[in-house]
Symmetry: C3
Subunit: 159 residues, 3 copies
C-alpha cells in the first residue's frame, strides 16, 4: 500500500494544501485555547455550573455558593462560541477552496487574513478593546470566507 | 509542482466531489447568514450583551438599559446553534461519504435533502411555522446524515 | 470519469484514512445522539423554550408553564456544546494528520484515545460521575488533538 501513501504525500506536498493545513491547525489550536481560558476563569473566579465540580469545596450551602455565573467566564464562553460559528465555515470552505486550485499568493492572503482576524478578534473580545475593533476583525474573517466560497462555487458548481 | 496541482484538479473534477463542494458551501453560507441576522436583531431591538457594544448610546444607566436579552435575538441564536450541531456532522460525514464512491444520483439526493431541510428549518424557526414543521425538517437532515454515515462505515470500516 | 473515481477509491483504500473515516463517523454519530437526548429530556421533563413547541399542551397559561429550563436538559446541552468545542478541532486536525503520513499504529492510537475519551466524557457528564472523571477524559481528548496538531505542523508547516 505504499503507492497510496505516496499519493497522499503528494497532496500534503502541494504548497496551497500545506498552507491550508498550517493555518487551519493554528486557528483550531487558538480556538482550543478558549477551553483552557474558560477553565482558568472558572477556577480563579470560583464560578461553576455543575454541582459535581464544586464538591471539593465542601458540602451543602458552602459548595452551592460557587454554582454561579461570572462575567469573565461568560465573556470567554461568548468568544469561544463566536470562534465555533466562524471557524467551522472556514474549515469546510477553506478545504474546498484549497482543492479548487487557487494561486498560492491568493490562498496565502486569504488564510493569513482569516487567521489574523480571528487572533485579533480574541484579543479585542478578551481585553476588551473599544468597538468597532471586535466588529471589524469579525468582518475581515467573514469577508475572506465569502471570497473563498465564491471561488469554490465558480470552480466547481454542480447543483 | 504542476503535477500535484493536476492531481488536485482531478479531485475537484469528480462530479460527486463537486456536488459535495457546492452543497456544503451553500449550507455553510446559509449558516453564516445567521450571524448577520443576529447582528440585525441586536441593533434593531437594541439588545446587547457586551458593555463595550453599547458605548455609542452614551454612558452609565443610559447605555446599561440596552444590556438585555430579546426574544427575537435569542431565537436566531438558537437557530444558529442548531445549525452548528447539525451542519458539523454533515461537513465531516458528507466529505467521507463523497470519498466513499457513491452513485452520483444517490449523492445528489442526500446532499439536496440535507441542504433543503436546513433551509426549510431556518424558515420554520424564524417565522415561526407551527410545529411539527421545524421538527420534521430537522428529522430529514438528521436521517440523511445517518444514511451517509452508514455508507461510510460499510465502505471503509477499520477499527 | 471512472479514472477519477478510481483515484478517490485509492484514498479511501488507505488504511490510515479508513481509520480516520471510521472513528470520525463514530464520534460524530455520538455527538448527534446528544440532540436525541435533549429532545427526550425536553419531552419527559416538559421543559421547552419555543412557544410553538408547547402548543399541543393547550393555550395561554396552561402551555406557558412548560416554557422553562430544566436541570437535566441544560446538562445535556452543556455536554453537546462541549462535544462541538472538542470534536470540531478533531475533525479538522485529524483529517490533516491522516494526510500527513503517520504510522498506522500511531494513527489508530490517536483516534482510539480521542473517541474513547469523548464517549467516556459523555457518560461522566450525564450520570454524572464524581470529578475528576469528566475533567480527565476531557484532558485525554485534548492532549491527543494537540499531539496530532504537532505532527501536522512538523510535516507540512508553510507560513
Amino acid at each position: 500500500r505504499s503507492g497510496e501513501m505516496a499519493k497522499l504525500a503528494q497532496l500534503i506536498d502541494n504548497d496551497v494544501f500545506r498552507a491550508y493545513a498550517t493555518y487551519t491547525t493554528i486557528v483550531l489550536l487558538k480556538m482550543m485555547l478558549m477551553s483552557l481560558l474558560t477553565a482558568y476563569f472558572r477556577i480563579t473566579r470560583k464560578a461553576f455550573v455543575n454541582p459535581e465540580d464544586t464538591a471539593s469545596f465542601g458540602k451543602g450551602e458552602n459548595a452551592k455558593k460557587y454554582l454561579r455565573t461570572d462575567q469573565d467566564v461568560e465573556r470567554v464562553r461568548r468568544g469561544h462560541l463566536n470562534d465555533l460559528e466562524n471557524i467551522v465555515p472556514f474549515l469546510g470552505i477553506g478545504l474546498l477552496y484549497a482543492l479548487s486550485g487557487p494561486e498560492l499568493y491568493s490562498a496565502l492572503l486569504h488564510f493569513r487574513i482569516f487567521v489574523g482576524s480571528r487572533i485579533f478578534h480574541t484579543f479585542a473580545y478578551m481585553i476588551p478593546l473599544p468597538q468597532p475593533s471586535r466588529g471589524l476583525s469579525w468582518v475581515a474573517g467573514y469577508a475572506v470566507t465569502i471570497s473563498m466560497a465564491y471561488k469554490v462555487l465558480k470552480t466547481s458548481l454542480y447543483l
